[in-house]
């Protein structure tokens, strides 16, 4: 047990790791062993600290968060932004998830990235990411959170563009950063509004002052929450700012697991849960949150149906699952949203790492035969079950979890969100629609996950005869973390078991002190009895049907390898091209903006109007006068004399009376 005051250690360890690895990265000579020890080591140390703090909190659950001020950051008049951490039930949960899942992914990376020339740089970035993520979840006020908020975006940018020599990777990183920035704009605007209205940026003070200082359901609180949610859509890849996340798969796969599945992208959900009182006070915004979540869940799931890149499927799946979480927090089930965040961290990290393991194997196989086939295309896989049994079984577990099959973890969390949305429908009927969307998304989720498993692991192998001999299971340093995540995916639901399963909503009770402020304004009464059972049964049924359909639809048809595959047509093409959203954004926003900047503003206004007309124009006018003057200089002395005499006469006229 560790006192909460020592929470800064959890941040300091990865920070030290970042500095060490960063220094090693700048050296010409690789220091693989040192990096392998330092990189995951600091994470494990941070995890140990987190566990200690957690047990300390468990023994004596506080009603007020423990504040750990570090130093005064921006003291200006009555504004006194302190760099401070707060340890409470919510931040502890996040702390555990970040350091725990983070440790596993760091370990996995040791195996996955070992041969990369940028190994030390990779771990430096990864450690730095953890630093910022911890600052994000621990920050006791919005500016501190914002350090982490932007910091994780930076690390995401750096890691997506890790292999920066490919323009596509660098593009993807930049896109992620800029889209996140659009969201950050929202967070900033929300901060300004909060400061004006409440005179504070501390979470504790916001929770205390908001009920009195803001009108529930009023325009101000709605605006604040909308701005906050804009930030969440950027960070957590919701409509309309989701397009960066699939592109972000350009980064190394463990990065996708850590940043783009388990931790960073869930920051938006965390932020909503953290400011739950505001969202609870703004039912309109909550409905929007839930609605965007539900629509995103369904929308992304449809796209995932026709993706061939194994990571792209998982990316859209992540977008879709994040939609679920927002559906949850939008339905005032803040604990439910966090619950799904936790279980999703387990099984999605597992899925990504499993995919990483598969890609690793495929990559090595293609590398061995000097083939340039796409190691991530599922059409080139198939039948990997024989070659990678551990990965196969673990990914199957994760699939069952995400599909919502009891008793796996995803079942409980997903079910709770759907039930909450259904329950909110009693107050606002539009939530029934959201519920339906969620259910449909569940069906599609099960479908595309079954398709993924079937295409990858079942059926015949399509990688090629020569390559087949080089397909091996990953080493223990990679399968070990997978195994742990597999266990967590199975039993993860235990942290918040519902009553019908013999539990008592432990997580909900644990988070009670944090969500209490919001609960005063919006509280979900989960359905009981037959309704509950019907909902549960429906969800399970949908999941099972989806799995079955996906399995059958994939295996009954013969899948040709990528190089022989016919081009998609019709709806499949639209889905494969992600509804052309990227193209639409490009044509509607990016290109016009660049055109406006280049042609209108720069060439037109700056060079044409201001410089050309005004500045050089005045120069031209004075030169014109100068030319006129020089015309008078004929060089004929007589003319000068005439001028001179006329002037002299003029003066004489004035002098002689």
């Amino acid at each position: 047990m560790i006192a909460s005051q020592w929470v800064w250690l959890a941040v300091a360890f990865p920070l030290a790791g970042f500095l060490v690895n960063g220094a090693l990265a700048l050296r010409r000579a690789p220091a693989t062993t040192a990096v392998s020890i330092v990189g995951p080591g600091v994470l494990l140390a941070a995890f140990a600290v987190s566990l200690g703090i957690f047990f300390g909190l468990l023994r004596d659950p506080p009603h007020q968060p423990h504040m750990v001020p570090l130093w005064s950051w921006m003291p200006v008049g009555s504004l006194d932004v302190t760099l401070a951490f707060q340890v409470d039930q919510l931040s502890t949960v996040m702390l555990l998830v970040v350091t725990g899942v983070g440790s596993l992914i760091h370990l996995f990376s040791v195996g996955y990235m070992r041969e990369d020339p940028g190994y030390a740089r990779y771990f430096a970035y990864l450690n730095l990411f953890v630093v910022f993520m911890l600052v994000l979840v621990l920050g006791s006020n919005l500016p501190t959170l914002f350090i982490g908020w932007e910091g994780v975006g930076l690390c995401s940018y750096l890691l997506i563009g890790f292999w920066f020599s490919e323009k596509a990777n660098a593009d993807a990183g930049k896109k992620a950063f800029i889209m996140n920035r659009i969201g950050d704009f929202g967070v900033l605007a929300a901060m300004f509004l909060l400061w004006r209205e409440l005179g504070t940026l501390e979470f504790a003070d916001i929770a205390a002052r908001a009920p009195a200082g803001l009108a529930p359901g009023g325009a101000i609180v709605t605006l604040i929450t909308l701005f906050l949610f804009l930030g969440c859509t950027g960070k957590s890849a919701q409509i309309p700012l989701y397009t960066w996340l699939p592109d972000a798969m350009a980064g190394p796969t463990p990065v996708s697991a850590l940043i783009h599945a388990a931790t960073m992208v869930t920051a938006g959900v965390y932020l909503v849960a953290r400011t739950n009182v505001l969202f609870a006070m703004a039912p309109l915004s909550s409905a929007l949150v839930a609605g965007v979540g539900a629509v995103t869940a369904l929308f992304a799931a449809t796209i995932a149906l026709r993706q061939y890149d194994i990571k792209k499927v998982l990316a859209y799946s992540t977008v879709s699952q994040l939609g679920y979480m927002f559906l949850g927090v939008g339905s005032a089930a803040f604990a439910g949203g966090i619950f799904h965040l936790v279980t999703h961290a387990f099984f999605k990290a597992l899925l990504f790492l499993g995919a990483g393991s598969v890609i690793h194997a495929m990559h090595h196989a293609y590398h061995a035969t000097h083939s340039h086939e796409d190691a991530q295309d599922m059409r080139n896989m198939g039948g990997l079950r024989q070659h990678m049994p551990v990965t196969f079984w673990l990914m199957t577990i994760a699939t069952l979890a995400i599909a919502g099959i009891p008793p796996f973890s995803g079942f409980f969390s997903k079910d709770e969100i759907l039930a909450s949305a259904f329950a909110r429908g009693a107050e606002m009927p539009v939530y029934y629609v959201f519920y339906a969307f969620g259910l449909a998304a569940a069906l599609l989720t099960a479908f595309y996950m079954a398709r993924l498993i079937a295409m990858t692991f079942l059926g015949d192998n399509r990688s090629g005869a020569e390559e087949r001999r080089h397909l091996y299971e990953a080493p223990w340093i990679m399968t070990g973390p997978l195994l742990v995540l597999g266990i967590l995916s199975v039993i993860g639901g235990v942290i918040n078991l519902p009553v019908f399963a013999g539990g008592h909503h432990a997580l909900e009770g644990w988070l009670e002190p944090v969500t209490a402020a919001g609960a005063a304004f919006a509280r979900v009464e989960l359905p009981h009895g037959s309704t509950e059972l019907a909902l549960v049964g429906g969800a399970v049924l949908v999941g099972a049907v989806g799995l079955l359909l996906g399995y059958r639809a994939t295996l009954t048809r013969k899948t040709p390898p990528a190089r022989e595959a016919p081009a998609d047509t019709g709806l499949a093409l639209v889905l494969n091209r992600k509804y052309y959203v990227d193209e639409i954004y490009d044509a509607a926003v990016v290109r016009p903006l660049v055109w406006l900047s280049r042609v209108v503003l720069w060439k037109g206004v700056d060079q044409g109007l201001i410089d050309g007309a005004a500045v050089n124009g005045s120069a031209r006018v004075s030169r014109g006068f100068g030319w006129l003057g020089s015309r008078l200089q004929t060089g004929q002395v007589g003319v000068y004399v005439v001028f001179f005499l006329v002037g002299a006469l003029w003066i004489l006229r004035a002098m002689i009376r």
Binding site: L632, T634, G635, Q636, V637, G638
Partner: protein, 103 residues
């Protein structure tokens, strides 16, 4: 009052006539040498004024005439040298052919 003082007005009038004649010459002639001659004429007109007013103001007026003469001599020397140089260059002393000052 001496005799000369009664001549102040007529002397100034004569100086005006001579000066105007000089100006007319400068405007009328193109030959650079004649131009110089006319300028000398104007200087002489001014000298007359100085001398006439010296009756009232004291010897300063006469001293000024010395200075004017000195400057005139210097001007004549340099000016004529310039004319020589230009003539060598252009084979002409006609002002119309000399427009080095053209802007």
């Amino acid at each position: 009052m001496t005799d000369g003082m009664a001549l102040l007005g007529p002397a100034l009038g004569l100086s005006a006539i001579l000066f105007s004649l000089g100006v007319a010459g400068v405007l009328l002639r193109r030959n650079v040498i004649v131009l110089f001659v006319c300028i000398e004429l104007m200087l002489n007109a001014v000298n007359l004024t100085f001398v006439a007013l010296a009756q009232l103001h004291g010897a300063s007026g006469q001293v000024m005439v010395f200075f004017v003469m000195t400057v005139a001599a210097a001007e004549a020397a340099v000016g004529l040298a310039i004319i020589l140089a230009i003539f060598r260059h252009k084979q002409s002393v006609d002002l119309q052919n000399i427009n080095l000052l053209r802007g």
